[in-house]
Amino acid sequence: MKKFSHEERHQVKITLNGEAVEGMAEPRLLLTDFLRHEIGATGTHVGCEHGICGACTILVNGKAVRSCLMLAIQADGSEIDTIEGLADKDGNFNALQQAFHENFALQCGYCTPGFLMTLSEYLKSNPDPSIEEIKIALSGNICRCTGYHEIINAAFDAAKVMRDI
């Protein structure tokens, strides 16, 4: 058993996009805010903060989760992947990002990191999805600009490209 007082900040160590990083967190600090304010990884966006919009979706140990519904302290020791880890070191887009770019699947871009991280896990578990399956997979992410069709097309195209790699 280990107790963490609300009056102190505690060390949290994670592996972020393959690199070991650490920061301090009081128990109530959300994982989203830890990534943004403590680590400085501001690619993960904060939307509704109660698990509805999906903007803050990241991968924790390979699984897509909402980082606003998880405490930083719960993530101690986890492997975390965020939008910052998708492009390669030279800044070249991965297949998913490229498909979003080519299909005009973003306008303001606020929701995009959540969509990309959701699809990062989903397309691994279902590499050949139908349009209907993509719609269900993306039902937990809200976009107020695109009307979704471009996003669904991008997901479909990305799946095709990823199958051919």
């Binding site: 107790k3 609300h6 909402r66």
Partner: protein, 280 residues
């Protein structure tokens, strides 16, 4: 919003958790997946002094078949259960209900026991537990007790679990020989809370359905050999008896119509499954 301040205790066994519950009582909240509790913390609807995290306990994870029941440990996620290889054979009802629980991102963390303890009247797992006549195993410092679904689910966000008790297992009875199962629900968007959700089963000629989202907990009715227009009459009576109310998601009238319509869909589905088997 951000959660209010609390102390956080990570426990390694369920014994440690119940010791802490005995000490803190209603000042403590248990967290496992946190998919219901975290939104409530973020909106400051709950303000526990202590959060007890059971996610890393060694003795609460896993799915085991014991006799004619499937026992699901407290830290088992909805995704774990959904991808369990024996699910469609042993719990076909849950196999069809699980894809409707939230989104796959929330099922990755949300637990089966957590959903039962949260006791939202529209959620899928409590309705299935009621239909199948399952149980929840509760543990405190003195020992454990099993509570039947009908006694466990009391009302909106209210269960028979006492403050010093920890839910350690959900127990779902295995599918009966020759029985057929079906689940359907109406939601405004996939993954939203169901406006009405209906789980149904037929065994011999007995039809049984559980309706979630209308009354303040899932309610069950059972009929002997129901056919033709008698099905619609029975569903209409049930729809009125549930005494649904108007809210932002639907009117009471809309809910009654959904009970009649989805209820008929579920019962027709059960009959099709049964006739298919007879024709083989």
């Amino acid at each position: 919003m951000k959660p209010p301040p609390f102390d956080y205790i990570r426990v390694e066994t369920s014994d440690e958790a119940v010791d802490l519950l005995a000490e803190y009582g209603d000042e403590a909240k248990i967290i496992a997946g946190g998919q219901s509790l975290m939104p409530m913390l973020n909106m400051r609807l709950v303000r526990p002094q202590v959060l007890i995290d059971i996610a890393q306990t060694s003795d609460l994870r896993g799915i085991t078949k014991k006799g004619k029941a499937i026992e699901i440990g407290a830290t088992t996620t909805q995704a774990d259960l959904g991808s369990w290889s024996d699910l469609s054979l042993t719990l076909p009802l849950l196999a069809s209900a699980i894809p409707s629980i939230g989104h796959f991102q929330t099922r990755n963390r949300g637990t089966v026991c957590g959903s039962l303890c949260h006791a939202d009247p529209s959620s899928e797992l409590p309705a299935c537990l009621m239909l199948l006549g399952g149980e929840v195993e509760l543990k405190n410092k003195k020992g454990t007790r099993r509570v039947k679904a009908d006694d466990f689910l009391i009302g909106v966000l209210t269960t028979a679990k006492q403050d010093e008790e920890l839910a350690i297992k959900a127990i779902y009875p295995v599918a009966q020989d020759g029985a057929k199962y079906a689940f359907t629900e109406f939601h405004h968007r996939h993954g939203d809370f169901a406006v009405v959700g209906i789980a149904g089963m037929v065994v011999d000629n007995k039809i049984r359905i559980a309706v979630g989202g209308v009354a303040d907990r899932p309610e069950v009715r059972e009929w002997q050999s129901l056919e033709g227009s008698a099905i619609d009459d029975a569903l209409n009576d049930f729809a009125w008896e549930l005494r649904g109310s108007d809210d932002i998601h639907a009117t009471a009238q809309h809910r009654r119509e959904l009970v009649r319509h989805l209820g008929r869909q579920v019962i027709d589905n059960l009959h099709v499954q049964k006739n298919y088997e007879l024709s083989q």
